[in-house]
């Protein structure tokens, strides 16, 4: 008979993914904060307490007994956070990434997902970053015009994109460079243009910073420059940007925004980086956007087409279809409840039809997969 060992760090993970502090959890199970702390370090809880913890934290009891083989550590994440981000928020986002990776690893094992296809480029200066972005465009067959759908660029290159919900706007996005890259983005932000830039920024980390610890100004600036260059390639953007002698031509800037599906702030920054406008014009333009309430959302954001991640939802649908499974079955595979599965995927399973693999019951031929096989 296999001997089960309580994995203390899994309790910490489950607590964090549920957004609880040690004190809050202690209050719920009527123990001291110190006791919860000891449970997360080395103390072994009674079987009854394990049941209570599992029920409270939306996991199966087996969750606490399976070793944490994939723990994501802060230094392994490309983590766009603010200097003011509370530690607890950072820990919660990383816990989210860790459990999400368990799901992705399981889906990856069960299905054929797009192959990982991110070029790795070492860069030192801006010129090399521009070249790296051009190289990626060529590698992914994007040409040198606007990118119609940034989610699809990452997903066709094998990355899985998801959202984290209900935290705060203190974290922008996070990418985890693993056997399958994961990008997690805050749902808090409303602007689609900024969503695309965030994805391009994370793409920059995955291309430029493989195995490099990020989060400092230098690597964040490199990822920003890469994002600008990927979304607005130098050659085409420079040729299109109208000459502006002193005042900014806002109509032209907003038209560029709609064409390149980037924020007006990103257009201004790109124009400054490429020396198409000077520092004074850039500063004044940025100040104007700020003063007119366009820091978080801008004019004409509503005219940029929405885009949403597709890979995760398609993979889960395919899993249900191929294996004749339900959300609860998938959740069981990683020892969590279906409500926690819904939380970490940000998918409402009420809206996903559950398929039954009729072919496996020899009733009706299974349509889509046989056509391709």
């Amino acid at each position: 008979m296999a001997f089960k060992v309580f994995q203390n760090e899994k309790l910490r993970l489950a607590r964090l993914i549920n957004g609880l502090s040690q004190s809050e959890l202690a209050e719920k199970i009527d123990v001291s904060r110190q006791y919860v702390h000891s449970l997360e370090i080395d103390k072994v809880p009674s079987d009854d307490l394990v049941l209570a913890l599992a029920s409270l934290l939306n996991v199966k009891t087996d969750f606490f007994y399976s070793p944490l083989s994939n723990e994501v550590r802060e230094e392994q994440c490309h983590f766009r956070q603010r200097k003011t981000t509370p530690k607890i928020t950072t820990q919660q986002v990383i816990a989210h990434g860790t459990i999400f990776e368990l799901l992705v690893a399981y889906l990856d094992k069960s299905l054929n997902l797009p192959s990982m296809n991110f070029p790795h480029v070492d860069v030192i200066n801006d010129e090399q970053i521009e070249e790296a972005a051009d190289k990626c465009r060529l590698h992914w067959g994007l040409g040198f015009g606007p990118i119609s759908n940034m989610c699809r660029v990452l997903e066709n290159a094998g990355a899985v994109i998801t959202y984290f919900d209900g935290l705060s706007d203190k974290v922008d996005a996070l990418s985890i460079s693993r056997s399958r890259n994961i990008v997690i983005r805050n749902t808090f932000k409303e602007s689609i243009a900024r969503f695309r830039f965030d994805l391009a920024h994370e793409c920059g980390h995955l291309v430029l910073h493989q195995g490099i610890e990020t989060g400092d100004d230098a690597t964040e600036n490199q990822a920003n420059r890469f994002a600008s260059a990927l979304l607005m390639p130098r050659k085409t953007f420079s040729a299109e940007f109208p000459r502006m002698s002193s005042r900014l031509d806002w109509r032209a800037i907003y038209e560029m925004k709609l064409r390149w599906k980037a924020s007006a702030a990103a257009i201004l920054r790109r124009a400054k980086d490429l020396q198409l406008i000077d520092e004074v014009q850039y500063y004044s333009g940025y100040r104007y956007l700020s003063k007119t309430g366009q820091r978080k959302t801008e004019n004409y954001d509503d005219r940029i087409p929405e885009e949403h991640p597709e890979l995760l939802e398609n993979a889960i649908k395919a899993y249900f279809e191929i294996y004749a499974q339900k959300p609860i079955d998938l959740a069981n595979e990683i020892n969590i409840t279906s409500s926690l599965l819904s939380k970490i995927t940000n998918i409402s399973f009420d809206q996903i039809p559950i398929y039954i693999n009729e072919l496996s019951k020899n009733v009706i031929p299974f349509p889509s997969y046989l056509k391709n096989s």
Binding site: S110, G141, E155, P242, R259, N314, Y323, F366, N372
Partner: protein, 203 residues
Amino acid sequence: MNNNLMPWECHPDLTKERLSSLTLFFANTRNELMSLYDQKRGDDAWSLGCRGFSWCKNRLMMIAGKNEWSWLSVLNPTKRFIFGIGAVPVRFYRGRIDRPPMGTLANSFDELRQLSLAFPDEPHFRDLKWRFAIETGLLGEPTNIIFAGLSQSGEVISYANIPFEVEIIKLPLGSPIVSDEVVLPKPTVSAPFVKKAEIKNGV
């Protein structure tokens, strides 16, 4: 400008509400003007300045004509434009309050006559010129709208700097060119080889 007298302390017609309405009017008009600046069609600083003056002047005349603000009147509709807030004659200019252009302080018969009517018993206020100074940033955007009473030498005797938030201007933009966009397919997900074989064999 210490011990500043607020304009509404100088004359009851210069109420804070009226000055706020005019501040917002000048800010929004200036903001709209700047947003529509179109170098491709031949705009420059000169055209911006001319339009800035005309838009403010003509729109104030329209507001007064429709009696939208009952307290607003036009005293001189020419290029030496003077309007009235109640009984008090007022002019406007683009520039800093501490550096009024010479022309704005020049005496005019219409203004002097109206001032004597507005301040019959306060000769110290009768000599003040009431001005809106529309201060702008490097791009021409409104940064401060200041209402002040200036002495003949340009010294600020009374002033109010009323904060404002401009309206968002929606420009008539065309549809973007998308002919050079590459549309990628949806990311594909399929059954692994072994599972496909099982399905095929009805396992």
